[in-house]
Symmetry: C2
Subunit: 210 residues, 2 copies
DNA sequence: CCAGAGTCTTGACGAGTGTCAAGACTCTGG
DNA sequence: CCAGAGTCTTGACACTCGTCAAGACTCTGG
């Protein structure tokens, strides 16, 4: 066998890597577009216009629109489900974690509002389109775990047990977050402060009364 | 002046009433269609197909699609915001109200699932389309009031004050409800029982510890 | 340098959309 | 019974969409 140079891998392998890079680039452009327009109004031409390619190239890297969207959804998930792990790891007391977590929520609702509304859009759309449901359910479960890591660590630091299930804890916090996102997008000034206050007030309620 | 017969009002008045009846009939058909397909995939032809009229008639009674949708949204609101008033009026103790309210939530999530997912669809869509936002915000406020009537009456019967604002109480319950709706639509059997249990477990948390 | 595989652009297609105009139908006042 | 206002249907329009085929461009192995 002819030995291959290590810094020049065989053709197929290199192609596979650039191919993956192209798919990721298209996914980035797609996510930008989806965050601006929403699922229903996002067209392949608009996605391509937000990329460096023309509209036909999408079908060169993805079988159809559904495959692109699915790829985007998974791409998105991989990027966001560990958003609060730092908060969990670095907080030393329960009040400290409460403050860091609520601040982080406010930060992300400001910095990543389009991605958040896209997620709610996809989740709602999955109530009508079964094709989206498996991926949405998987992400929802990941988000529930993410919240549970925060909440259970909070309880641990507080030295008091939780009185809610992971599902209910996630649903409650998510409800608060979604409502504040809507109000923030509607331009309500105090939405952010209320989110912070709401979370700081709500988390202690999930602990057994001492 | 020639007196008009009381059981035969002038032409214009009668026309106005039948015109209103037509608009309501179209709104009913539109809501059915919207609940089945969602906001984005509902077309005027599909709405007309679910009515006794042809597709052109929509523009005879509504200026454009937006006016029809707006009319539908308000029509929907008027029908649903007093859903739990009976529960509030008839319950005599806090535990009784808790049971009646949670049962009613389960009942409506089963019987009116399409309308509920439509509401979430509209609310999410309003994050992208400003035209929908005023009506959505108004309905959201009505729903918050609706929940607050339940929750505050519950606190009153329990003889303990609430420790959350109306907005947070609504957001938390709505989050639990939305999550269970999604799971119910996904065919998860225990979604309904979990909704019931979640609400019965959650409402007491909103009262000051005794 | 050149053939050929790989990559990307362009333009077309059929289906579906909101909108509207022209005309057919219906009902009623005189 | 008839004219005309009111109501509804039909068919067309301009447009956008996902998809795909034909060809142009790019890059590289030999």
């Amino acid at each position: 066998m002819t030995p291959t140079r290590q810094d020049a891998p065989p053709r197929a392998a290199r192609d596979e890597r650039t191919r993956e890079a192209r798919r990721d680039a298209l996914a980035e452009s797609a996510l930008t577009t989806l965050g601006e327009l929403g699922y229903a109004r996002t067209s392949l031409r608009e996605i391509a216009a937000n990329s460096e390619f023309s509209h036909g190239v999408v079908h060169y890297y993805f079988r159809d629109k559904t495959e692109l969207i699915t790829y985007c959804v998974r791409y998105y998930k991989a990027r966001c489900v560990h958003r609060y792990d730092g908060v969990v790891a670095e907080s030393r007391t329960a009040p400290e974690l409460l403050i860091a977590f609520s601040d982080k929520l406010v930060e992300t609702i400001v910095d990543e509002a389009p991605m958040h509304r896209l997620w709610y859009d996809l989740r709602t759309t999955s109530m009508f389109e079964e094709a989206l449901r498996p991926d949405v359910v998987a992400i929802d479960a990941s988000l529930q775990d993410m919240v549970w890591r925060v909440v259970s660590r909070y309880a641990e630091l507080a030295g008091r047990p939780l009185v809610v299930t992971p599902g209910v804890a996630y649903a409650m916090l998510d409800g608060v977050f979604e409502r504040c996102l809507l109000r923030h997008l509607a331009g309500e000034r105090d939405a952010l402060d209320e989110l912070r206050a709401a979370v700081r007030g709500a988390l202690p309620l999930l602990l057994r009364a001492d």
